[in-house]
Symmetry: C2
Subunit: 293 residues, 2 copies
């Protein structure tokens, strides 16, 4: 049971976690903090949080669990702000899409309290955002990756694991480096391909005809190009090494396809398309939750 | 009014056209031809066609409108087979995703009857296939591109235009070359990106973890990688020049992104993502029909 939970950033992700923990009876008191007082009040009106604190020092004070549910680029500043306010028993966790950079920021900001920080990433979300879009079932049967370091307190890991289990999720432990590599290939790379496809069409002379005749394949592949540019700017820069590696690997495959097209190598194309289709057909299509990405 | 309509290939595309024309009262008699007798019988049982002919000569005989609703790779053979059977008043059209290669095949197969051939491509479809998936509303408010040549009979173009209008679609006239370039960029290229992304992940050592953590962005971008390999083999080879051009243009943009990532150029990334998002947000999301692609 969490006595006092502090959610920093009460949007889709933070709000859904608050709702899930309340529904599970896993928390007594939920304090929310956010930059926008009106949004925060809305979270209180909806009953997602019990108390709204626009000053982060007041929000964190006395909390035994602090969840940072903000974009990766905001983590460093917030960690510095909460560090002096943390109660002795407080455990801190986050929901960032990149773990290596957040760990570096947490180590610098938290100093001796770093072992109480458990890096986390729930692989869930929807294309919507804001507390109005939050719902208690978001994490049900979804995966949350935790990437504790060698000096992370095992008891803190246990408490964060319990928190996510209470919210209905399954936790996985892996290294931050492995997480960042996997997410670079499965989430950050697809976003890059989508942004680039949209931009490639924009650069054509005859873009009006192109957009007029673009149908469902184009729509699907570019859906995530509508994602927040600032958030993706942060993710790219904070997971640069792994993303460059994933993109370089992808470009190598694309070069292979291009060369096969140029030489009219039908066997190469058929084999590639067949492999890809077999794997895609085997891929789980169920879409209960959607990646925060 | 079409007196006798012959649909060669009574699947989603051909079946939906038959249903739409019947619902509009635009056709008297519909004859269907297909390789698979059981599928053809099913089309008849469903009332999509009035008569099933497994011999193409019998199907085409006396028809005043022949629609080839088969994959691009099958066009050449079928055009050769129907050529000697065509009634003097017959107009022929097709639904292929590539127009240049079909026109070349039609010119060779039809000889002096080539002016009666109107190349067409309905930009509609769903991810399903087969006559069971066909429905009369598939083409409602969708676009059909017609790519007549200089020697195409204007009266034939008029009759094919009327056919698609009766089915609820809007027709656009453009050159085959322009069509093939636009479709290469808006449909064939996204398919190549999806197949390649699926294959890039397959080639990683740790692919199980990757697939386990792949979420909605990956699912969306790779959806069309489940498309029929044989159909895409045909499309790639028959639209090779335009696809190589589109893929080369795309790779240039991807190289720009990769270089920006390598030098940590946040401004470049933010500008790219912002342009892409603005254009994607302005893109019509309505999805009444889906591209045959």
């Amino acid at each position: 049971m969490i006595d006092k939970l502090c959610i920093v950033g009460v949007g889709l992700i933070g709000g859904s976690l608050a709702r899930a923990l309340r529904a599970a009876g896993a928390v007594c008191d939920i304090v929310g903090h956010g930059r926008n007082a009106a949004h925060l009040q809305r979270a209180r009106d909806l009953g997602v949080i019990d108390r709204a604190e626009t000053r982060i020092a007041d929000a964190v004070r006395g909390a035994d669990m602090v969840v940072l549910a903000v974009p990766v680029g905001a983590m460093s500043r917030l960690l510095k702000e909460i560090a002096p306010q943390l109660a002795p028993q407080a455990v801190i966790t986050d929901v960032g899409s990149v773990k290596g950079a957040v760990i570096t920021a947490a180590r610098a900001a938290l100093g001796g309290r770093f072992p109480s920080f458990v890096p986390g990433h729930p692989i869930a979300g929807t294309e919507r955002s804001g507390v109005e879009a939050s719902f208690a079932e978001l994490y049900k049967h979804q995966r949350v990756v935790l990437t504790p370091e060698a000096d992370t307190d095992p008891d803190a890991v246990r408490r964060v694991t319990e928190l996510w289990r209470a919210a209905g999720a399954e936790t996985l432990i892996m290294s931050a480096e492995h997480h960042d590599e996997v997410l670079a290939a499965t989430s950050h790379l697809p976003h890059m391909l989508a942004f680039t496809l949209m931009d490639a069409l924009l650069k054509l002379d005859d873009r009006e005809t192109h957009f007029a005749l673009a149908a469902s394949s184009f729509r699907d592949v570019t859906r995530v190009a509508a994602s927040d540019p600032e958030m993706w700017h942060d993710i790219c820069l904070s997971n640069r090494t792994a993303l460059v590696k994933a993109l370089t690997h992808y470009r190598l495959q694309l070069d292979g396809l291009l060369a096969a097209l140029e030489r009219g190598d039908g066997d190469y194309l058929r084999a590639l398309f067949t492999r890809a289709k077999q794997q895609r057909d085997a891929f789980p299509v169920q879409d209960k939750g959607r990646s925060v990405d």
